[in-house]
Amino acid sequence: MEKDRKKIISCILDIGERLLEAGAEVSRVEDTMQRIGLAYGFERIDVFTIISTINISAAFDGETYTQTRRIRKIGVDMEKIVRCNDLSRKLCIRPEPPCELIKDVEALDGVKQYSFFQVLAVYFIIAFAFTLFFGGSIGDGISAGIASLILRLIDFSFKKLNLHNFALYFINSFIVGLAIYILIGIGIGASYDRIAMGNIMLLIPGIGLTTSVRDMITGDMLSGILGFLAAVIQAIAIGLGFAAAAAIFIGI
């Protein structure tokens, strides 16, 4: 039975890990893990989460089980959050035996993703829309769209190198900055600022910044501060990238 309990704790951590990696709020991760733990009959569950680790300690009949997970990459995958949520609701109503639980947790990784070309098309559309949103012409929009395709291809191929975020965002924005100057040079689009802004909206951690401020106000201080710093550092990398591109073409 003790082995089962360890397995269950490990599965609860798996669910928490997937939630956090899919971009769920820290409070949701902690809440979900606690609920599932209590549904499985543990007397006491303590979860502590920051954006890079999850700790869980569960007490049962005088024994305490503690496990930790290190979280490396955080992205956004809403469908996975929905699925984790469904699973957690199901488990809270009827806790499953460990063998079924493991299967259900593994099934979470089979969440459908949009294909490479669908995402590419959406990049074009978003950059186009934001450029018009900021007052650009249709030509500016098309220029931004082309630059965003380059951005996506660079981003996609450089991700395999396992670079840290700062280098990745610096390189991405540097190349996009160059691409926009070249596109304007050959006559596609005219307003550099608006075209750049259309692409910056794809790069900038606006959501991360907004969420981290909320974390801080609602009491998840540590996660809030870490998220805030991560967003600021990412913004600095992007700023430096565009500044470097500008330095080459016009000189600062």
Binding site: M78, F134, G135, M201, G206, I238
Partner: protein
Amino acid sequence: MSEIIIQTAMSFITSAGFSVLFNVRGKNVFINGMGGSLSWIIYLLVFGHWNSIFWSFFVSTFVIAVLSYLLARPLKVPVTIMLVPMIIPLIPGGLLYNTVFNIITGNTEAAKGFFNELVLELAGINLAIITVATLFGIVYSVKKYRLYGL
């Protein structure tokens, strides 16, 4: 006038587009796009009326947050799935970039102006979300535990 129409239409596209990037699936992509347009229309109305950055962001986010809480239950999704993509047009990504870019290029005066605006917008968005989350939290607790004899 045409500017307003373009911005509202583009808000739909950006919110729906980011929904796809965030792997939202099915009809929710369309709903999020509508929400994105709505958030921008409300922002324009409030800003046109009171000319206040803070209140225009607060009111717009407040309405969108209430809407996402009300929609989340019947659509059986967590609130985040609606709320985050719907406020995309309000997210001050451009201001964050401008602040950082002006600091890097040594233009501190301009950076200060952008930073002030950034703080106001972030405050408006986040305080609205927190207010709505707290209000709905109270309503749920009162219902669940039948507090105060309700």
